[in-house]
């Protein structure tokens, strides 16, 4: 019955290996950092502008295909624009919008969550009702409505993404704050005479760092995909700004002859989101964060 795993003998041996095993979070973080660097260093890596049209080199395949060349390592699109350059600059666009959108929505959501969680009562009821409403209305429809109102400039996308995403953070942060509030040390601090501000800054925030790290890491991909999705549908980032989503969308008509037009940016996007997902999952296990909400 209980001898399924005699671990007495060789356990230290395995522990040793687990100890030096390069862990998932680190490997993925390094890879992700690599992708970010590729985007940042795009002007150094490639000298072809992402918008340079070369009608003589339309739909060139990547280098490993017959007819491909090192000049266009990832091939070109239907207008003869360099896929590598467009992908690298696309990373910049995606990361830029996603990061700013995330920061915006996180500030909004986290403050609302903390207020709802700490103040409680009717303020909490009201704020949670608003988040409920926002969760109910399909995100994409709200985004589209916002775009109809405000147009497709990049700042609009950032603001809209921020306005769409905050409710998730608000809800989770509120849950975490409520859980914290149940813990005696918050009350102890209150009984010692600490002000609400002091409690929030000295006791609540530090204990939110772990869950917030996990939440933000896990939700970065979805923010990034929001921009990519809108651009894919043609209502997000407008040309000539290179955008991974838009590249996938416009390559759709050339799938049969030039799959790389959609394929390359797809691979980039999936790598980014997958890495974020793996890092987030790993962090959650590591920091032992439970996210209910």
């Amino acid at each position: 019955m209980s001898h399924s795993s005699p671990f007495s003998g060789n356990s230290s041996f395995w522990k040793y290996f687990q100890g030096i095993k390069p862990d998932r979070v680190w490997v993925c973080s390094v890879l992700l950092l690599g992708i970010v660097l590729l985007g940042l260093l795009a002007p150094v890596i490639t000298h072809i502008e992402p918008t340079t049209v070369n009608l003589l080199a339309r739909s060139k395949p990547p280098v490993w295909y017959e007819g491909g060349s090192w000049y266009y390592p990832l091939g070109t699109d239907n207008l003869g624009r360099d896929m590598l350059s467009r992908c690298l600059y696309g990373i910049r666009t995606s990361f830029g919008i996603a990061t700013l959108g995330l920061i915006f929505s996180a500030i909004l959501g986290v403050s609302i969550g903390i207020i709802a969680g700490l103040v409680g009562g009717y303020a909490d009821e009201l704020l949670m009702f608003i988040t409920d409403v926002f969760i109910t209305i399909p995100n994409l429809l709200l985004l589209l409505a916002g775009i109809v109102l405000l147009g497709t400039e990049i700042w609009v996308l950032i603001v809209m993404i921020g306005l769409i995403r905050w409710e998730a953070y608000a809800r989770i942060v509120r849950g975490q704050v409520m859980a914290l509030r149940e813990l005696g040390f918050i009350e102890a601090s209150h009984v010692l005479g600490a002000s609400r501000l002091r409690i929030a800054v000295a006791h609540v925030l530090p204990n939110l760092i772990s869950p917030l790290t996990v939440i933000l890491t896990l939700s970065f991909p979805s923010v990034l995909l929001m921009e990519a999705g809108l651009s894919f549908l043609g209502v997000g980032v407008q040309p000539p700004t290179p955008s991974l989503g838009r590249m996938i969308g416009s390559g759709r008509d050339y799938l049969l002859d030039a799959w790389w037009m959609s394929g390359m940016p797809s691979i980039v996007i999936v790598s980014i989101t997958l890495l974020f997902q793996l890092i987030g999952d790993g962090l959650r296990d590591k920091l032992d964060v439970r996210l209910d909400g």
Binding site: A188, S189, V191
Partner: protein, 264 residues
Amino acid sequence: MKSIVELSDVKVSYSGGLLHRAPKVDALRGVSIRINRGERHGLVGESGSGKSTLGRVILGLVRPSHGSVSVAGFNPFSLSRSEKLEFRRRVQLVFQDSVAAFNPRLTIGKSLGEGLKIHNICKSSQRPDRIAMLLEAVGLPQEFSDRFPHQVSGGQRQRVNIARALSVEPDVLIADEPVSALDVSIQAEVLDLFEDLQQEFNLTTLFISHDLNVIHEASDYLWVLKNGEIVEKGGTKQIFSGPEHEYTNLLLASLPGQGLETVC
């Protein structure tokens, strides 16, 4: 002697929020209590009797729907900004032991220092000495200052808990089930410590517990709470030897191991 805690006809009822309508729960239904300076009081009751709520009313954490509260000369529910701070210094709480009573990210020293900082009890340069003194008062070595709450045992943590409450030199100490999570042998130590400190610091204490044996040791005056009402009050010894209310009688009769003393 003038009373330092006085509650008269205090009623508390809990209800749910706006959208989920919870039924009203009457936690306290007209409780009056008087505690004089320097006395040791005990409050005993079973779960759901409202004993914790009563403690929290005295601390100003739960607002009663009816009745008047006066603690250390203040009404905890109408305090000016400066009064609030003074009230918080004079009335303290010892929690039931748990890791949760301490911020896991702060060392024990930092946790002990919080009250000193808030109330400017001493200069910041003197704080480490002060913390060492507090630790010493509860029988712990100075090194504990650098440990984290999860690195010490339950009994030790409970001593720190008491030290934290004492750090601001309170007059009134409410102890809400302070030993019920501890093993018997450690319970005894903490109870003894509690008694010593009560005398040393001239504290007025209200000891809340469900355990009659514990309350017997920690109090001279006893209030028996049942369903939000005081059903019996008086000297602890008198009540133990001759309970008047049938509920108190039942409580005493339910104590396990009645004949154990005769064997030992």
